[in-house]
């Protein structure tokens, strides 16, 4: 059962990682992906909007799919919302398994699918007061599609 959090607050990477193997001796691998806000082109903040209710449901389904495809001993997805500054974390994906391939592949799968199948929208704010909504990238659809058919 995946641990899924959608929250404005920051998260504790070390505590989240430790909790996936605490008190057990069957976990041989923990893979993680940490997404961080970049400050390209004078970006001063990202504002992340989401669809409360659907977001948790969508992430839950993505995590279920990961657990169906790989023998995971644990899985954590934390996605922040609200205003995030350059250098601050946006998203954390953690996957644990007995063996490394399952953890690494499931982690890459989760972040690829999160990018294309979870209802979040990013607005970029720039120095000078301008802002724009981030447009979806074709390369994200491509990354997500590589998990279809294969598995």
């Amino acid at each position: 059962m995946a641990r899924i959090l959608v929250q404005d607050a920051a998260f504790d990477l070390a505590a989240e990682t430790a909790s996936l193997s605490a008190g057990r001796i069957d976990v041989g691998a923990v893979a993680s992906f940490l997404g961080i806000c970049r400050g390209d082109d004078g970006l001063t903040a990202l504002v992340l909007e989401h669809y409360p209710g659907m977001t948790e449901r969508a992430i839950g389904r993505i995590a279920d799919e990961a657990e169906r495809r790989w023998p995971l001993t644990g899985c954590t997805v934390i996605h922040r919302t609200g205003r995030i500054l350059p250098g601050e974390p946006i998203v954390l994906v953690l996957t644990a398994s007995a063996h490394r391939a399952a953890a690494l592949e499931a982690c890459a799968f989760l972040i690829d699918w999160l990018k294309t199948k979870a209802p979040f929208w990013k607005r970029e704010e720039f120095a000078g007061g301008s802002h724009r909504w981030v447009e979806a990238k074709g390369e994200d659809d491509l990354a997500a599609s590589r998990w279809t058919g294969a598995a």
């Binding site: 997404g35 992340l48 909007e49 989401h50 669809y51 209710g53 659907m54 449901r57 969508a58 996605h79 946006i90 998203v91 972040i111 999160l114 990018k115 294309t116 199948k117 979870a118 209802p119 979040f120 929208w121 990013k122 607005r123 909504w133 981030v134 447009e135 979806a136 994200d140």
Partner: protein, 83 residues
């Protein structure tokens, strides 16, 4: 029927949600979009390029052909950009 708007669709429509009662001939997501677009200039502007609009019915992604009914929660938004 509850309709929700997110991201630039919310900004263009000018509201985050509204309760609507479309007529019986509005049977699917595509029909609902056409009906909503006729409600105001702001709605028309938000739905001007349907290729940029995605939908969810009762919190699941839905195609234009997906049926909609009186008690549904229907959301409109641009392609997602999380992660």
């Amino acid at each position: 029927m509850r309709v929700l708007y997110f991201a630039w669709l919310r900004q263009k429509v000018g509201i985050a949600e509204e309760d609507v009662a479309p007529p019986a001939e509005v049977r699917d997501v595509a029909g609902l979009i056409r009906w909503l677009a006729a409600r105001s200039a702001a709605h028309a502007n938000a739905f001007a390029d349907p290729r940029q609009v995605r939908a969810a019915v009762n919190q699941d992604f839905a195609t234009p052909e997906h049926p909609v009914a009186a008690n549904d929660e229907v959301a409109f938004f641009p392609p997602v950009t999380g992660g």
